[in-house]
């Protein structure tokens, strides 16, 4: 293992980070000019990747099968709407943090069953969060500011008096929030906090015998996870949907995030980004194939059905052959390349010696 040079990051991490930053801050804005890419791909990708990190913390790291990410996202989104509406002094960033905290409070509440039930039963118990939060928002008009239309337009994003309304500006807002929260998540995952999570995941009774409190660790993981989902939900509503409707945060979205988590690789942070990219881009790719190769001969509903079939198939294949998902697959490919290059260079040098 390499020595960390800054915080918990190794030299390789810092290089990766620098590459990502250059790509996302300089290269993408200067080469991609079509709005479509920002509004329909990059912004939702960043938001959902953030929510997937939340899912990773509770499921990938702490091993608690939870299914209700979209519920916490809804809590975050509507908290954000109400905070901007009712407490305008908080500002955008302040409201974002507080909405995350409100979602975290829900996370603590719905994480409590994890102390008594586990596995598939916990999954059913956490579904309550999904339905309860959406029901609560629908039932009490206050949350929607008594808007009768059902769909509320999100307020404009204003940070320090400057409006962030263009797709590019919103992309930067999402990028900044996601980057900061990702770095914090990595610090936790690699530090003592992450070790406690993984200890609970791998062998809870032994973790307890080492002095790791199951109650505190599980509830903490649920709270942090819900915080990430809440912030992601707020960004999702304000930067991507630009509207607030409870229907947008239905169980389908929870499942989507679950799939992103599993396909990306349980217990990895970069897997969250890979998984989210795959699940977002795959339907786009299928549509493009449908339109350009078959020239619309295949009905759109069939294409979306094919999408489901392929996702389902992939889930099964990954569960059987690579439970650690695409992040691990990527790691393996890199490892293979490395050994290939090494063996070819050592072959060359040995050949060189002979002649």
């Amino acid at each position: 293992m390499m020595k960390p040079v800054f915080m918990t990051y190794t030299k390789k991490d810092l290089i990766n980070l620098a590459v990502c930053m250059v790509l996302s801050v300089l290269v993408i804005p200067s080469f991609i000019t079509t709005e479509y890419w920002y509004t329909s791909i990059l912004i939702p990708w960043l938001c959902l990747a953030l929510a997937t990190i939340g899912q990773q913390i509770v499921m990938g790291y702490t091993g608690q099968l939870a299914l209700g990410a979209a519920g916490f996202m809804a809590a975050g989104a509507f908290a954000m709407f109400n905070l901007i509406l009712r407490v305008p002094d908080l500002g955008f960033v302040g409201s974002l943090i507080v909405s995350g905290l409100i979602a975290a409070a829900f996370g603590i509440l719905f994480g409590l069953p994890s102390l008594k039930v586990r596995g598939i039963y916990l999954m059913v118990a956490t579904l309550a969060s999904q339905f309860f939060i959406i029901w609560m928002i629908d039932k009490f008009g206050w949350f929607k500011n008594y808007d009768s239309s059902g769909i509320i337009t999100a307020q404009d994003i204003v940070i320090l008096g400057k409006p962030f309304t263009t797709p590019l500006a919103m992309y930067f807002v999402c990028l900044a929030v996601t980057t900061v929260l990702t770095l914090l998540a990595m610090n936790m995952a690699r530090g003592s906090t992450g070790r406690n999570w993984m200890a609970v995941r791998d062998m809870d009774i032994a973790a307890e015998s080492m002095g790791v409190s199951l109650l505190r660790t599980k509830v903490q993981a649920f709270a942090i996870s819900a915080f990430y989902c809440g912030v992601a939900g707020a960004l999702f509503a304000f930067c991507y949907l630009k509207s607030l409707e409870p229907v947008a945060f239905d169980i389908k979205l929870s499942f989507k995030i679950l799939f992103m988590c599993i396909l990306g690789g349980l217990g990895t942070i970069n897997g969250a980004f890979i998984g989210a990219a795959f699940i977002l881009l795959f339907p786009v790719l299928l549509n493009a194939i449908g339109n350009n190769v078959f020239h619309g001969a295949i009905d759109a509903t069939i294409i979306s059905s094919i999408e489901q079939v392929i996702f389902g198939g992939l889930m099964i294949i990954f569960m059987i052959y690579e439970p650690l998902g695409m992040a691990k697959l990527w790691e393996n490919i890199k490892q293979k390349w490395k050994t290939k290059i090494q063996s070819s260079t050592s072959l060359k040098s040995s050949l060189g010696k002979k002649t």
Partner: protein, 264 residues
Amino acid sequence: MAQERKFKIGKPILEVKNISLSFGGVKAITDTSFDVLEHEVRAIIGPNGAGKSSMLNCINGIYKPQQGTVSFRGQQIPNITPNIMAQMGLSRTFQNLALFKRMSVLDNILVGRKLHTKTNFLEVALQLPKVKKEEKVNRDRSEEIVSFLEIEDIKDTPVGKLPYGLQKKVELGRALATDSSIILLDEPMAGMNVEEKRDMCRFILKVNDELGTTMVLIEHDMGVVMDISDRVVVLDYGKVIGDGTPDEVRSNQKVIDAYLGVEH
């Protein structure tokens, strides 16, 4: 042990009084009492199903006995949980290996440092200077244990990939990392070959000798038990049938009967 011990055997550190445990109608332990003195190596032996592991699980708080009390340093502990016992300074290993399989050897041992970690998740997320300081202390101590157990070359391997004997060593390492004053070892040498057993004995004695850690171990290999322990308690059918030095136990007729069988 011929030479003088650095840590003289002292007062009782752990006292088990009148413990009875049953699962449904099956009695695992009946009215069992014994004590463990500070700095000694105490063995619990007995035939299969004698209730040895159940006994450790009662001491550690995994099982709740229907009757009886456990006292630590003379103080009776009312609501025993594994967490409370860990905080009092009691650590343990498990019969069927309870390691964190997907974590590396070093990370497993680092979890043992949990009670020496005082920083919270927010401080960890922000990597404040005190987090770094604490992490360094914990890492240094863990590295020390790794080199003490002579497992430097595997410290970054996920423990799930290690052979059984090495996993047992890692488990001992994790218990050591807690800096507990007493460690319970549940069959630390089961499934090991002669060489590995000798190694493990050496480590147990070395820990006891250098750190003064009180060791309570369950073991089947009678030769090993008689060699390394100061006192032995023998259980059979959940009852104490012998308690004393290895020599006393060896000449105890009840113990001989339990192990060799007796005609009724």
